[in-house]
């Protein structure tokens, strides 16, 4: 990685790095620091891209849907010049006014008010999951925190909440993994998923049909909104698709992040056991600290000045959410996972009109699982080094070996 400040135009720091290389995906933190330090906006010649990595500029770009719209794609591909791999999302890859109605409908369905009816059930489900792992297992239990907890819990509660049939749920994680890879360049990670794209897309598409979905879930609620004319019947299946694409992998890796943080910070675990009502804060601090969604792109609508330079119209800009969430210009001791910190304002869910519409669902899943664990587990520690799972967008774990010391 070399950083140069050329004297010729454009007066913008040029950083020769591939953010989607396996070396960076394994540990993006050194690159993120270099990008932040290089300037408020940098140029990445590898992909002919503009990029922002500091908190202030990332946040400003996220909220500015007028000058940094999403309908040209929120990955590297510019939909104005390239055909997307699937019909664009009505939420993530849409701008006002088309974005308004799908967003309003899904915000209500996934809002804190609507989730209240799920709270008791999900807390009980989490206790049940944890009991199944720990009952009769002796004072110390070793398990893979990803498979046994971080993936198991969302896969247990979320598809039911959506109203999916049981068959085929194993397709959710590979579909999401590919969708998040597809926001990056056409590298080996995208190629790896390509053979199953048609099959997985067909399965996901089939689950979005009204007759397939249970009549009391998020999916049925989306279709009911179309009966009230709040969205069109043609929009309903694509909005269900957004739930299936963005609602699983992200929470799985958010839960992996918080389990990793708690396992490697015994003081934080002790704090959480003493004050389990901090579980939501712990989950959000983990989303800040690990930033399961690392990056998204926008496209400049017009020539847009940032930090003394101009991002030209129609050019892609890469926003490093993970780097912003560790920017020392904004956060004190940003690399520390700290339950005494107030993580409010982190951009791990994005910010502005596209801010994660499922964030309350994710926090509820986190609070339920962590609360169940605090009741049974005295101490939690790594049993071995975790293994990273490489994805062009997500910061993820393949495995997270944990050792749980049960409470007496």
């Amino acid at each position: 990685m070399t950083t140069t400040a050329p004297t010729a135009r454009p007066a913008i720091p040029v950083v020769d790095v591939d953010p989607f290389s396996h070396e960076v995906l394994e540990d993006p933190l050194p690159m993120q620091a270099a990008l932040r330090d290089a300037g408020p906006v940098v140029f990445l010649p590898r992909y002919d891209l503009y990029a922002v990595a500091r908190y202030a500029e990332v946040r400003a770009a996220l909220v500015d849907w007028q000058r940094f719209p999403s309908s040209a794609g929120v990955g590297m591909s510019n939909f104005r010049h390239e055909t997307p791999w699937r019909p664009p999302s009505l939420l993530l890859e849409a701008d006002p006014p088309h974005h308004d109605a799908p967003r309003a409908v899904l915000s209500a369905i996934l809002g804190p008010r609507a989730l209240r009816r799920l709270t008791d059930r999900w807390f009980a489900d989490a206790e049940d999951l944890v009991a199944g792992l720990l009952d009769g297992a002796g004072p110390v239990v070793e398990l893979d925190g990803m498979a046994a907890l971080a993936a198991a819990f969302p896969l247990r509660v979320f598809p039911d909440a959506v109203g999916l049939p049981r068959e085929g749920r194993e397709n959710l994680l590979p579909y999401g993994d590919h969708a998040f890879n597809a926001f990056g360049p056409s590298n080996d990670l995208v190629a790896k998923g390509a053979p199953r794209v048609a099959e997985l897309s067909a399965w996901v598409g089939a689950q979005c049909a009204r007759e397939v979905l249970a009549d009391d879930g998020f999916g049925a609620a989306i279709w009911a909104a179309s009966d009230r004319g709040e969205i069109t019947p043609a929009q309903a299946p694509l909005i269900v698709r957004s739930l299936l694409t963005a609602g699983v992998d992200t929470t799985v890796h958010g839960l992996g992040a918080v389990l990793h943080g708690l396992a490697t910070h015994p003081d934080a675990w002790a704090t959480l056991r003493a004050r389990p009502e901090r579980a939501r804060v712990a989950f959000d601090e983990a989303v800040r600290w690990q930033s399961p969604v690392q990056t998204f792109f926008r496209t400049a609508e017009v020539d847009t000045p940032i930090g003394g330079t101009v991002v030209p119209a129609d050019r892609k800009i890469l926003m490093f959410l993970g780097a912003a969430n560790r920017d020392p210009r904004h956060w004190a001791d940003p690399d520390r996972f700290d339950l005494d910190r107030d993580p409010s304002g982190h951009v791990g869910y994005g910010m502005g009109i596209h801010q994660c519409v499922g964030q309350h669902v994710a926090r509820l899943e986190g609070a339920a699982l962590l609360t169940a664990l605090t009741r049974r587990v005295e101490r939690i520690e790594p049993a071995a080094a975790p293994a990273r799972h490489h994805n062009n967008t997500m910061r993820a774990f393949a495995s997270l070996p944990l050792r749980l010391h049960l409470a007496g």
Partner: protein
């Protein structure tokens, strides 16, 4: 963001006889909360009165809002204050935006405006045009001179039918909606008799194909309590006095509460907090009326207290 979010009047212009348009901005020129056609803001005037005004500007301009205010002869003084006293450079308190009159996607719209009811419909017709929908606007008023934004509507040609009552009589609602097919959504805003008439004229159609907004004189939601109140954090027993310069969230944080928040504008819902005692003054954009009335939760980034004391689960 503190508990007294304010906007400064940047421009004040005559929009029609008895109607002034205000251009509002943050004192520091910063970005304003996002909105969509049909949204309104609460403005708190110098008298302490809070009034709701539909946003009728350009949402692509993130730095100013525009509202239009009709002088209400029989009003309670809010509109007279805006017309006679409020000046460029003055500030007003604001809350929102909220939207109970959102535009739903459709291939065809019929808009009916009565008088100042044009304000929420003005951005709607712009949006209908933008998305290439088929649409028409029937716009009535007492007289041509009393009808605001005629100049801005001129560009839409014969899609807009101006219908001043003193020239043309009552609005021909029945004929206007006569050929509305099942894909046509009717939006109407105006005085009560107009809303009753449009309901009659569309009574044979599915109810969700008519969307109306009533201008009520009621002070919805936000009677601002000028004097400080006490917030008790139930989990620690700590109390803190919240003066007008502080949000409940900020005050709670200052005495040690760890309250997660995100937008700090009362729109995202992250900071939802249970209310254990006291009556909240809801200023968020999230709760429905029945949820406000329940009084069992609030969003402390923007909401405040109606009572001397508020006990929160923090």
């Amino acid at each position: 963001m503190d508990g007294t979010d304010r906007l400064v009047v940047r421009e004040k212009t005559r929009a029609a006889e008895g109607v002034v348009a205000l251009t509002l901005a943050r004192p520091d020129g910063g970005r304003l909360p996002d909105w969509a056609p049909g949204a309104h803001v609460d403005l708190t005037l110098a008298s302490g009165a809070t009034r709701q005004y539909s946003l009728c500007g350009d949402r692509w301009d993130a730095h100013t809002y525009r509202v239009a205010v009709l002088r209400e002869v029989d009003g309670r003084g809010g509109s007279a204050y805006v017309h006679d006293e409020l000046a460029v450079g003055d500030t007003v308190g604001f809350g929102g935006p909220r939207n109970h009159f959102a535009m739903v996607p459709s291939a065809r719209y019929l808009f009916v405006a009565g008088g100042i009811g044009i304000t929420p419909l003005l951005p709607m017709v712009g949006q209908a045009e933008l998305v290439g929908a088929d649409w028409a606007l029937l716009y009535g008023g007492r007289s041509r001179d009393s009808m605001a934004f005629r100049d801005e509507l001129a560009r839409f040609g014969d899609r807009v039918r101006l219908h001043p009552q003193d020239e043309a009589g009552l609005l021909p609602l029945a004929s206007f909606v006569a050929d509305a097919d099942e894909g046509t959504v009717v939006y109407c805003c105006g005085p009560g008799p107009l809303l009753a008439a449009i309901e009659d004229a569309t009574a044979h159609r599915p109810p969700h194909l008519l969307r109306t907004e009533r201008f009520t004189a009621a002070e919805l939601g936000a009677p601002v309590r000028g004097e400080p109140f006490v917030v008790e954090l139930a989990r620690t027993g700590v109390t803190v006095t919240v003066g007008p310069e502080l949000s409940v969230l900020e005050a709670a944080r200052r005495v040690g509460a760890t309250a997660l928040s995100s937008c700090e504008q009362g729109t995202c819902g992250t900071c939802e907090t249970a209310v254990l005692a006291g009556v909240p003054d809801h200023r968020d954009s999230i709760l429905a009326d029945h949820e406000r009335a329940a009084g069992d939760c609030l969003f402390p980034c923007v909401s405040r207290s109606c009572t001397d004391r508020l006990v929160l689960d923090l």
